[in-house]
């Protein structure tokens, strides 16, 4: 408990439980087989729940897992059982919103795979070696969204302005609530 909050892993699975992207920060799952077994357990435990409006939470093997689903994508953030659930939830929410911004609201498996580089960058900007680096979705999206200045690139400056536009939209929506 003397250490800062630690995230053990971030998972992004599809609607069948297959890994789209995953990043592990703890040695609890040393092999890929162990990782896959964990993902399978997490997926089957949460599969039937409705985590589409609010962040949901469960406990598994002395870990706390917070999760949220959208379309055919399942987002998970895992921490130790002594961890503050709300810190984990803020990490998950940051990831979720940042991905939403980066994919311009079209968050599904296909878009995620098409823009896997952005997803990886997003993971990289949220957590560094298990330590929370940033939880503000706008900041994360901005940092991960820095893309090519090369005009040939698929997502040019347009991405940034679009991301900002979506951010603005997002903000307005949350204010209007």
């Amino acid at each position: 408990m003397e250490l800062p909050p630690k995230v053990k892993n971030i998972l992004l699975l599809d609607s069948e439980g297959k890994r789209i992207a995953a990043k592990y920060y703890s040695g609890d799952w040393p092999t890929n087989t162990a990782k896959e077994a964990f993902e399978k357990a997490v997926f089957s435990k949460t599969q039937k729940t409705n985590a589409r409006t609010e962040v949901e939470v469960t406990a598994l093997e002395n870990n706390i897992i917070v999760y949220k689903f959208v379309q055919d994508l399942h987002f998970f953030v895992t921490g130790g059982e002594e961890e503050n659930e709300l810190v984990l939830a803020s990490v998950l929410q940051g990831l979720f919103d940042a991905v939403n911004l980066l994919l311009r609201g079209n968050v599904d498996k296909r878009e995620a795979l098409d823009n896997l580089d952005l997803i990886f960058l997003c993971f990289d900007e949220i957590i560094d070696g298990g330590i929370v680096l940033e939880t503000d979705a706008n900041v994360i999206a901005e940092k991960a969204g820095i893309n090519s200045i090369d005009p040939n690139a698929p997502l040019s400056e347009q991405t940034i302005s679009q991301a900002l536009a979506t951010a603005r939209e997002h903000l307005t929506r949350s204010l209007m609530k």
Binding site: M1, L3, D117, I146, S148
Partner: protein, 886 residues
């Protein structure tokens, strides 16, 4: 068969399966990676290839050393491109490839250039990458830049450096510790996350310096922390400081409590939760301190956010284990959570309610749980069943509705672990509540009529054999048991035969009928079943003399006096030879199980539940060691070995601890010595013991240690004679004597000449507890009642002022060295009276049981009433003497 399994479903499905990585293959991607080497870098193409590489790694593909090196080298070429997006991907892949130290050199100059770039994103990421891959020597080279980065005006850069510092602290603490001035500045930063990272690092740097941490907390709690994350950290550090202070015996008003309480009013829920949790986890928290925390948690219970409800109910569940009364206010909110969509929350709510509920609410609660059970998974059900078992023990009068509930769920579908939990619970209830016995046994009988688990069937049959004959109408169980002989596999049939025999032996009127049933079993197809039937037939047909009866009884009902785990190790070590295996050679001592939760398992009858996987005790090891030394071989059987007692401070030149071995007439001290100086070789290591304060002991022999090289422990022994069977006590002072020889570190050879030297060790005491073995009994009440009441010795003692009841109880347990039974060594934290049950075996193999009742008055004066029963009256007196002198 190489053709992939093409989906023949509709087009829609095909579209769903689209993936840009379909059919991706490592070899091809590695080929593609050659574009990195092109003279004219195509950023877009290269980014795509890097993404593919990352995808492969992420899916669990691994690169060989050669492949990884090749990719790494070509990736480094991409630093020549000015494209920021590509550079970002390059950083990412370098971290994933985790290059070896000789490869790192290639990129360090590029990364160092980026560290000083004008682009913030370059600076931040170059720091993170570089710190991930470099070693200590390189770190000193870039230290200057890192210190600059910590105070960089861009928060992203500053955070990157601070977080890297946190990681580096593990590998290069001495370097990172030099940065505290800069880090201190970071704590004052405007940026929320910089503050958080700086605080984390600052604390890590100072964590071994209690005073500094306490100062840090003291200054920050006055309110300069803005970020919720940093505030959470501060709360953690504050509780640590509070813990340290109470460890150091500072009493009175709890410092910093006010700060924790003020955090309950923070605007961020994360901080409120952290503070509430910190308060509930304070050592010896009072109900006044607890109340505000419970109040905010109660509010969380009705939050629309599942995470908040979960966090609150999880915390309250923990609190309910120690302070059930404090949580009762939340019961109504908790009851509405039983129907919560999130089953984790519902289960936690139910188990909390079962702990806090009062007798009158049991029935209502059970009704609600019945609806709930059908739609949760087995793992949740087990938690609920366990909670119900403890509830039943708490409110014995309510056994009827609880037993009905258990028998109902026993009939429903479920896996092995779940069924076992139910059966264990029913058995516990039958044991603890005599009225529940007959009904409970019938439930179990019905269960084995249709039970798919051999293990459970045999356990229940065994249990029936013990409890069934003692009921008012034993004959009604026979049908269920005999059905097993027809319908089940060989293992269950054999168990059923044994059970039948027990009925036949215990209930005279049933004997003829049982004999008929057993005769039918001697034609069984299985050897074991036939053998058992034949054996029991001859036992039952015995001539009925008193002696034969006693033998058969011992045979049928006698319990194995040794713990199963010890038996197992002994059997494994047994070398088939002329000599038959002697069960008396199996050590009887159980390793104590420190956790209260594990104690609860000890309460289960030995027949049910897996034997506790006790770690093999060092006892056999000691016994073997001592009997191999000729000087000690004549001492007879080893009675007890203490756990090692340290005779030196940690981190001294020579580390010595001692193990006390108690024999009937002798005591042997085993000094385990370790030489921690690489430049020295010790020879003729001996311990000179002054026993002038231990009058009853006289030294008879000692065994020196010939040579003690660096870091390979050795043992020296000293043996004393003492009066037989008497728990002689005394104090011994020890001096280590030896000859030191210098060792040449380069060759490892010792010089020929040595110098004699000695080293003062700490004193050693032989206390009464050394003469008592910790031996647990499975059912304390039975054991207690089986001892002669006349021989009971009761006396009262005043234990003076103590911090808490628990402390007094621990002192008595330590003094007596006996095994606490049935978890009675743990005291609810605000209890004013408590009864503790202890059992043990006194030297001379005399069984002793102790029932100690403690009471505490308002001035924390503790009184104890001690009742002792022993197989030998003099031993009961001896126990009182120990307490009186202690």
């Amino acid at each position: 068969m190489a053709q992939p399994f093409v989906k023949k479903d509709d087009d829609h499905d095909d579209e769903m399966e689209y993936s840009p990585f379909m059919g991706i293959e490592k070899g091809a991607v590695l080929q593609e990676a050659r574009v990195f080497n092109d003279a004219q870098v195509d950023p877009r193409r290269c980014s795509q290839v890097i993404t593919k590489l990352l995808y492969l790694l992420n899916q669990g593909e691994s690169f060989t050393k050669v492949e990884a090196t090749e990719v790494f080298f070509s990736v480094t070429k991409l630093f020549q491109s000015k494209d920021t997006g590509l550079r970002r991907m390059v950083y990412l892949i370098i971290k994933e490839l985790s290059p070896s130290s000789d490869e790192v050199i290639i990129v360090t100059s590029s990364l160092m250039k980026d560290m000083n770039s004008k682009i913030d994103m370059y600076r931040a990421n170059a720091i993170r990458v570089l710190c991930r891959i470099i070693d200590g020597t390189l770190l000193t080279q870039i230290e200057r830049y890192l210190k600059q980065a910590i105070v960089d005006k861009n928060p992203v850069v500053s955070s990157a450096a601070l977080v890297s510092g946190l990681h580096l602290l593990r590998t290069n603490p001495e370097i990172v510790k030099r940065w505290s001035n800069e880090v201190q500045e970071g704590v004052q930063s405007r940026s929320a996350l910089v503050q958080f990272h700086a605080l984390a690092l600052l604390h890590q740097i100072r964590q071994n310096d209690r005073l500094a941490v306490s100062k840090l907390v003291g200054s920050l709690t006055r309110g300069s922390v803005r970020s919720p994350l940093a505030q959470c950290l501060l709360i953690r550090y504050t509780s640590q400081v509070i813990r340290d202070m109470s460890n150091h015996g500072q009493s009175g008003e709890r410092p910093f409590y006010e700060f924790l309480e003020s955090c309950l009013r923070h605007k961020a829920e994360m901080v409120i939760l952290e503070a509430a949790r910190a308060i509930t986890e304070l050592d010896g928290v009072t109900s006044r301190e607890l109340t505000p925390a419970i109040t905010v948690l109660q509010l969380f219970l009705s939050s629309p956010k599942p995470v908040l409800r979960f966090a609150a109910v999880r915390t309250l569940n923990k609190v309910s284990m120690t302070h059930p009364m404090a949580v009762t206010n939340c019961n109504i909110d908790m009851e509405s959570l039983i129907s919560d969509q999130n089953r984790s929350i519902a289960t936690l709510a139910i188990t909390t309610l079962l702990k806090t509920g009062n007798e009158s609410s049991v029935e209502r609660l059970m009704k609600q749980i019945t609806n709930f059970m059908s739609d949760i998974a087995d793992e949740f059900k087990i938690v609920v069943v366990d909670a119900i078992r403890s509830l039943c023990v708490k409110f014995p009068l309510k056994y009827r509705s609880l037993m009905t509930f258990l028998s109902n769920i026993l009939r429903e579908e479920g896996g092995f672990e779940y069924k076992r939990a139910i059966v264990d619970s029913i058995v516990t209830i039958i044991r603890d509540i005599p009225d529940a016995k007959e009904g409970g046994l019938l439930h179990l009988c019905e269960f084995i009529e249709d039970c798919e688990f051999t293990y459970l069937s045999t356990q229940i049959l065994h249990f029936l054999g013990i409890e069934g004959p003692k009921t008012s109408d034993p004959s009604k169980y026979i049908r269920y048991i005999y059905n097993r002989v027809h319908l089940e596999n060989a293992t269950v049939r054999a168990a059923a035969v044994s059970t039948l025999a027990k009925f036949g032996f215990m209930v005279e009127s049933l004997k003829p009928r049982i004999t008929v049933l057993l005769k039918r079993c001697i034609y069984d197809s299985d050897d074991e079943v036939r053998d058992r039937a034949t054996l029991f037939l001859s036992v039952l047909g015995g001539d009925g003399t008193l002696d034969a009866d006693k033998d058969s009884k011992e045979f049928l009902f006698g319990s194995l006096e040794v713990p199963l785990a010890n038996m197992e190790t002994s059997l494994k070590n047994y070398d088939p030879s002329e000599e038959a295996f002697d069960i008396n050679s199996v050590p009887k001592e159980v390793k104590s199980q420190p956790l209260a939760e594990k104690k609860a398992q000890g309460k289960k009858p030995t027949g049910l539940g897996a034997p506790p996987a006790a770690p093999a005790s060092g006892f056999e090891g000691y016994e073997r060691l001592l009997s191999s030394i000729p000087e000690f071989a004549s001492f007879g059987k080893l009675f007890k070995s203490s756990s090692p007692v340290e005779l030196t401070e940690a981190e001294t030149e020579y580390a010595v601890n001692v193990v006390k071995h108690i024999f009937d007439n002798h005591v042997v001290f085993q000094y385990n010595c370790t030489n921690t100086i690489p430049e020295q070789l010790l020879e003729r290591v001996n311990v000179i013991v002054d026993a002038s304060e231990a009058e009853e002991f006289s030294e008879i022999t000692s065994k020196a240690l010939n040579s003690l090289p660096y870091d390979s422990p050795g043992q020296a022994f000293v043996a004393f004679e003492k009066p037989a069977g008497v728990p002689a006590v005394g104090k011994f002072s020890n001096t280590l004597t030896f000859v030191v020889k210098e060792v040449d570190p380069s060759t490892g050879e010792a010089e020929d000449d040595g110098v004699e030297d000695e080293y003062q060790l700490e004193d050693l005491e032989v206390v009464s507890a050394d003469y008592i073995l910790k031996v647990s009994v499975s059912n304390f009440r039975n054991a207690w009642e089986s001892m002669n009441e006349e021989d009971e010795h009761v006396d009262e003692y005043g234990l003076g002022q103590r911090e808490s009841l628990g402390e007094a109880i621990k002192a008595v347990i330590d003094l007596l060295g006996m095994q606490p039974c049935e978890g009675t060594e743990t005291v609810p934290s605000n209890a004013r009276s408590h009864t503790c049950l202890l059992s043990g075996v006194y030297i001379g193999n005399v069984k002793v049981l102790v029932r100690a009742q403690f009471g505490m008055d308002s001035s924390k004066e503790i009184a104890m009433k001690l009742a002792v029963r022993a197989e030998d009256v003099s031993v009961a007196e001896a126990i009182h003497e120990i307490v009186a002198n202690g």
